[in-house]
């Protein structure tokens, strides 16, 4: 059996739940909720990779030297990733609104059938 930390476990669980929603659900908004959860999971994974036991946040005010801080790079990456995630979500939701206006449903199979 493999041993991983609880944070990794939580992150991977979120990724899997999100993936499940994307693959199995047919309601568009539900799929987008799943995508959002997946992104949160990935962000959590990145941040927990950067964590170092017993060190504090990378803000080097008094009392915190360069040796007492956690890795700042994953945090910078996640800042970017969060913003990109919300951008994708907004785009996807506006496409979903157009689809609802055209077809009157959010069920993706139904939309496919109506489109022929």
């Amino acid at each position: 059996m493999i041993e991983i930390s609880a944070y990794y476990f939580g992150a991977i669980a979120l990724i899997m739940i999100g993936l499940y929603a994307v693959l199995v659900k047919k309601n568009l908004l539900k799929m987008l909720v799943g995508l959002s959860i997946m992104e949160t999971g990935v962000n959590l994974l990145l941040i927990s990779i950067g964590y170092i036991n017993g060190k504090s946040a990378p803000i080097l005010s008094e009392g915190i030297g360069p040796k007492q801080a956690v890795d700042p790079i994953p945090q910078a990456l996640v800042l970017t990733a969060i913003v990109i995630g919300v951008a994708t979500t907004a785009m996807a939701l506006s496409a979903a609104i157009i689809l609802y206006e055209k077809y009157g449903t959010l069920n993706i199979e139904e939309i496919r059938r109506l489109r022929g």
Partner: protein, 94 residues
């Protein structure tokens, strides 16, 4: 095991649970609230993992704004999943 890590485990547990609920609830408004809860708990975890910048951003953008955008979209579409949509299926075809 000291008590700080107890709190971590509890928060991770609640976070995963709310993710499951967010995916399974048929009321989409509730699902969005569940999603925002996942983001909030994640931002708490970011705080524990010594990432206050990310925690702030996640709370402001990940939870609040993307939740709000979802709610507007629900307002312009519909609120409940139908019976038909409960059945699983993979819709992307070639």
């Amino acid at each position: 095991m000291n008590c700080i890590s107890c709190i971590n485990y509890i928060i991770i547990g609640i976070m995963v649970l709310s993710a499951v609920f967010a995916v399974e609830w048929r009321d989409l408004l509730a699902a969005v609230v569940g999603m925002a809860a996942v983001s909030l708990f994640a931002s708490l975890l970011f705080f524990f993992l010594q990432a206050p910048d990310v925690a702030m951003t996640e709370a402001a953008i990940g939870a609040a704004l993307s939740g709000a955008v979802f709610i507007f979209a629900i307002k312009r579409t519909r609120r409940f999943e139908t019976e038909e949509e409960e059945k699983p299926g993979w819709w992307v075809r070639w």
